[in-house]
């Protein structure tokens, strides 16, 4: 008979408020095998743990049951307690009396009865606990950063500066992300490119950073410390080692300026062979395989080839994959601007001179398509401009969340419009959300500059007599207003990347309700995901401005370097195990394993008078994370999860279903 100690934690009033803890502990003392049962106000506290240690010594306990909070919170704590008292840390079973009982059961009598049931189940189970062992596996001290916007750049630089190697993967031909498209940044009005470009150059020159531009991660296997990542390099059709970025090919291309430029948000054109923008890193040309006349139709003079004096154009280039081994991943895949076409009432994509925030950035930018002149489609300067806030944000019909940056960027753009033109400027807003250092002061400054603020969300934009008419309700005056302007700028919000679902699946991370990647805990683990070793930075986790993205990127880099500061990681002890005698070798467990931990091995065994060879599944203990998916897929019952074996779980079920609380 095992000697079991049971401890019922009051958790202050968290549990004791709903559960009669002393009654539960009296009940527990009568259960088979229980030699001591106590209740205590804070079991996780120092004196609480000391009490358990003394009981282990004094009562010669070999099993411990603790009725307290979620094992997520304190199972490691109490395992340590047992280990310090010389007992196997796995001879512990926790019953979750807080989340499973007191927080969800309001009737004191029912709560107490349920607590007794759970304790009885835990006592029945704990006798079947066995000692488990974990392995030490080395950590690959290289990091992967996915996304080359400001967040990815910052994370890559911070990790590289700590002395670790970084692969920075960017799907576009150049790093820089959305920040490279911006003109000035609020509220300091720094030139965006001026503060970003040096960082981009740092990345490209850093001896610890491998910049993999125009590449995408297609597969991630493995686990924290030992990820195996497959990266697909898209064909550039340009030999990067020869290209100097002179731009001769761009000038020569017959498609010159006929393709809408992604970087210019469609406000300018580019060629089929192009350099995304003058400060691009790497500064190398790239041929757009979907638009190049030679690659799509085979019919072209191939003037680019002729123009290139270094012979860098290579139409025989093709896609190729490479394998990386990394220990940690930072996801910094950024955001998409809300597609204002889905709100046709604002005329985006229908009416000329209705543009979105990114397009205005390109108009205002000195290196943009108009050399920084804010002009209408016909080239004239606008006499009046309206900025419409909350397009797609704070709206039950599209995104309920606030996109955080649109108030500030619309006001910054209003400032730029006042600065560069003589136009009257209107801001249609619901609230101004200016909660950042110097943000409120910037709001005041823009008001003083003569920008008209109209409190009321714009309802529609129509065209009348060659003017754009914005209709809204002015909620301070309580009446409808109509204002005729020449240009409408939509303060479109931020949305998850259109392929966020696929990316989440590739990296085995979860998404929150709004579609952005989910952090492990909104307050206490804001840069981690629920997959160990994968961290988040920037707007892929939710709308963020530049300072917040940079801060989070540095935080993620800190998490990565903290991980890399260790030499070994302890593997999970509660891992899956195959009973090879029972395994029929169907390997249905293999495709469901997210960690690639299951492989087929050939065993030899005796069958009658003969020695036969047979294939069975085997679990790699250093890859297995103990998720248990394989045990559910295994029909034959050959797969079991240590710590959650059939016998242990059934003991709990039987104790709950067959026993009765006194």
């Amino acid at each position: 008979m095992k000697r079991i100690g049971v401890y019922i934690c009051h958790c202050g009033t968290n549990i004791a408020g709903a559960v009669d803890c002393s009654k539960v502990s009296r009940y527990a003392s009568g259960l088979p095998g229980v030699v001591v049962a106590r209740d205590y106000v804070y079991t996780c506290s120092d004196p609480g743990q000391e009490m358990i240690k003394q009981d282990i010594a004094g009562h010669k306990l070999d099993r411990v049951v603790i009725g307290a909070c979620s094992p997520r919170m304190h199972e490691p704590t109490f395992r340590n307690t047992l280990a310090e008292a010389g007992l196997s840390p796995f001879h512990l079973q926790m019953a979750n009396l807080r989340e499973h009982v007191s927080w969800v059961t309001h009737d004191r009598e029912e709560a107490t009865a349920k607590a007794m049931d759970l304790i009885r189940a835990a006592v029945a189970r704990v006798t079947l606990h066995t000692d488990l062992a974990s392995l030490e596996v080395p950590i690959t001290k290289r990091a992967l950063v996915v996304g080359g916007g400001i967040a990815g750049i910052q994370a890559a630089l911070d990790i590289a500066n700590a002395g670790y190697h970084v692969y920075l993967v960017e799907r576009e031909p150049s790093i820089g992300g959305h920040m490279a498209q911006l003109d000035k940044t609020f509220p300091t009005l720094d030139c965006s490119a001026c503060i970003l470009t040096p960082k981009m150059v740092d990345v490209s020159r850093h001896p610890n950073i491998d910049l993999l531009a125009y590449s995408e991660v297609v597969e991630v296997a493995g686990y924290v410390g030992n990820f195996r990542v497959r990266v697909r390099h898209k064909p550039r059709y340009v030999d990067s080692s020869k290209c100097t970025g002179c731009g001769d090919c761009v000038e020569a291309c017959v498609m010159k300026k006929r393709i809408p430029s992604e970087f210019e948000a469609g406000m300018g054109g580019r060629s089929a062979v192009y350099i995304p923008f003058p400060q691009a890193v790497p500064l190398k040309a790239v041929v757009d395989g979907t638009r190049c006349l030679f690659l799509t139709r085979g019919k072209c003079t191939r003037a680019c080839e002729e123009a290139c004096s270094r012979g860098a154009i290579r139409f025989d280039d093709s896609e190729r994959d490479s394998e990386l081994e990394v220990g940690a991943v930072v996801l910094a895949t950024g955001y998409d601007l809300f597609d204002a076409r889905t709100k046709p009432q604002y005329g985006y994509g229908i009416l000329k001179n209705v543009i979105d925030g990114l397009q205005f950035e390109r108009l205002a930018c000195a290196s943009g398509p108009t050399d920084g002149k804010i002009v209408l489609a016909n080239g004239c300067e606008p006499e009046a401009i309206a900025f419409l806030h909350c397009i797609g944000s704070r709206d039950v019909n599209s995104n309920r969340y606030c996109s955080r940056v649109c108030c500030m960027y619309s006001m910054k753009q209003a400032h730029l419009a006042r600065d560069k033109t003589r136009a009257r400027v209107y801001e249609f807003y619901i609230d101004i959300r200016a909660a950042g250092k110097g943000y409120e002061e910037f709001y005041e400054r823009v008001q003083e500059e003569g920008v008209h603020f109209i409190r009321g969300k714009a309802a529609e934009v129509s065209e009348r007599d060659g003017k754009l008419v914005v209709r809204a309700e002015d909620t301070t005056l309580g009446r409808p207003v109509e204002i005729a302007v020449d240009m409408v700028v939509l303060g479109a919000g931020l949305t998850p990347r259109s392929d966020a679902a696929e990316v989440a699946q590739t990296f085995h991370v979860t998404r929150s309700q709004d579609g952005f990647f989910a952090e492990a805990h909104p307050k206490l683990r804001p840069v981690e995901t629920n997959t160990r070793g994968i961290f988040l930075a920037g707007a892929c986790q939710g709308p963020k401005d530049i300072p917040e993205s940079v801060a989070q990127a540095t935080a993620a880099a800190g998490k990565v370097t903290a991980l890399f500061a260790q030499d070994f990681l302890r593997t999970e002890a509660m891992i899956a195990q195959v009973n090879e005698a029972m395994c029929s070798g169907c390997l249905w467990c293999k495709p469901v394993c997210p960690f690639g931990a299951i492989e087929a091995v050939t065993i030899t065994e005796r069958s009658g008078r003969r020695t036969v060879e047979r294939e069975v599944a085997r679990v790699n203990p250093s890859l297995c994370q103990g998720c248990g998916a394989c045990t559910a897929a295994c029909r034959t019952g050959a797969m079991s999860l240590l710590g959650y074996t059939d016998r242990q779980v059934l003991a709990e079920v039987d104790a709950i279903c067959l026993g009765t609380p006194s």
């Binding site: 679902a501 696929e502 699946q505 005698a581 029972m582 395994c583 029929s584 070798g585 169907c586 390997l587 249905w588 495709p591 469901v592 003969r610 036969v612 294939e615 897929a633 029909r635 034959t636 019952g637 050959a638 059939d646 016998r647 059934l650």
Partner: protein
């Protein structure tokens, strides 16, 4: 002698005399006029025993793992004796459309290798129960896989006209039309007849566990005593162990000595897989086993 029979005999004779297979698994007349029984033909001279007609027959897929294993062992012994090398031993099997799926099931579950089987496909328009008056047996009613696909040989016969189903068996739609209470009563009545002979388990091509959960003594998943709960549990466990893997061969129902309409259960499961996962042919084994993979569009209404 039907046309199918002579063709099967000829193919079998050629395969055996050319040494391409070690065994032909087919059917022969059972003694005392008891219908057809499985035949294991290992010599060209034995192929004259082979017969095929519309009488209900046992699916032969279940014999393949054992027969292939012993053929492999014999080939190994022969190779060792003559100093030659081991050749991949092969077994030919006569298979109707449903049996072909059963063979593919064994391949998908890695219990046999496809290269060790030669499939002799026979078009089938349903088996006839002649005991009282000729009619299609229940499992053949509603079958849409009468022409076997992907076989190494296909017997050329015209699909013979069959008598119409006079007794239309219950269909999944009938089951879905019942209220929950009616369904419960219906199945309790059906399961109450079960004598737990395990015939449905033993004949199933999707059952391949080395230790059957229904017979496991540690842990005891299924109590031995007979009560409504264990009667239902027996069938639900068997059903869930074949979920997503059942090939709708209907053998479980055909062999049931007390006539429990088991294909009604398996076909309901298939109809659910079809609706939930958009899998057109859930009974066909392949790479896209709906319950063994994860897709972004999988229904998750319960989360």
């Amino acid at each position: 002698m039907t046309d199918a029979t002579s063709q099967i005999r000829e193919i079998a004779r050629n395969l055996l005399s050319e040494g391409r297979v070690q065994t032909v698994l087919g059917y022969e007349e059972a003694p005392l006029g008891l219908g057809l029984r499985p035949a294991f033909v290992r010599e060209p001279s034995g192929t004259g025993r082979l017969v095929f007609d519309a009488r209900p027959t046992l699916g032969l897929a279940r014999y393949l793992p054992g027969e292939i294993a012993s053929a492999l062992a014999r080939a190994e012994d022969g190779a060792a004796g003559s100093g030659g090398t081991t050749r991949g031993a092969t077994v030919a099997v006569v298979a109707k459309g449903c049996d072909v799926r059963a063979v593919l099931r064994l391949v998908a579950d890695r219990r046999i290798r496809r290269e060790n089987v030669i499939l002799i496909g026979v078009p089938c328009s349903g088996s006839i129960d002649e005991e009282r008056f000729p009619r299609l047996i229940a499992k053949c009613s509603g079958c849409d896989a009468r022409l076997p696909e992907g076989c190494d040989f296909t017997i050329e016969t015209m699909a013979e006209p069959r008598p119409a189903d006079r007794h239309r068996p219950l269909k999944v739609e009938d089951l879905e039309g019942m209220t929950a209470d009616e369904r419960y009563t219906f199945w309790q009545r059906q399961f109450a007849r079960c004598i737990r002979c395990f015939a449905c388990r033993s004949v199933c091509p999707a059952c391949g566990c080395r230790e059957c959960a229904l017979e496991s003594r540690s842990p005891v998943w299924l109590e031995r005593d007979v009560n409504p709960s264990t009667q239902s549990m027996f069938h639900f466990m068997r059903l869930m162990h074949t979920a997503g893997r059942c090939v709708d061969c209907g053998e479980c129902e055909r062999v049931c000595p007390v006539g429990i309409p088991l294909t009604l259960l398996t076909r309901k499961l298939m109809s659910d897989i079809r609706t939930l996962f958009g899998v057109e042919h859930p009974e066909t084994p392949g790479d896209s086993e709906p319950l063994a993979r994860f897709g972004l569009s999988d229904p998750e209404e319960f989360i």
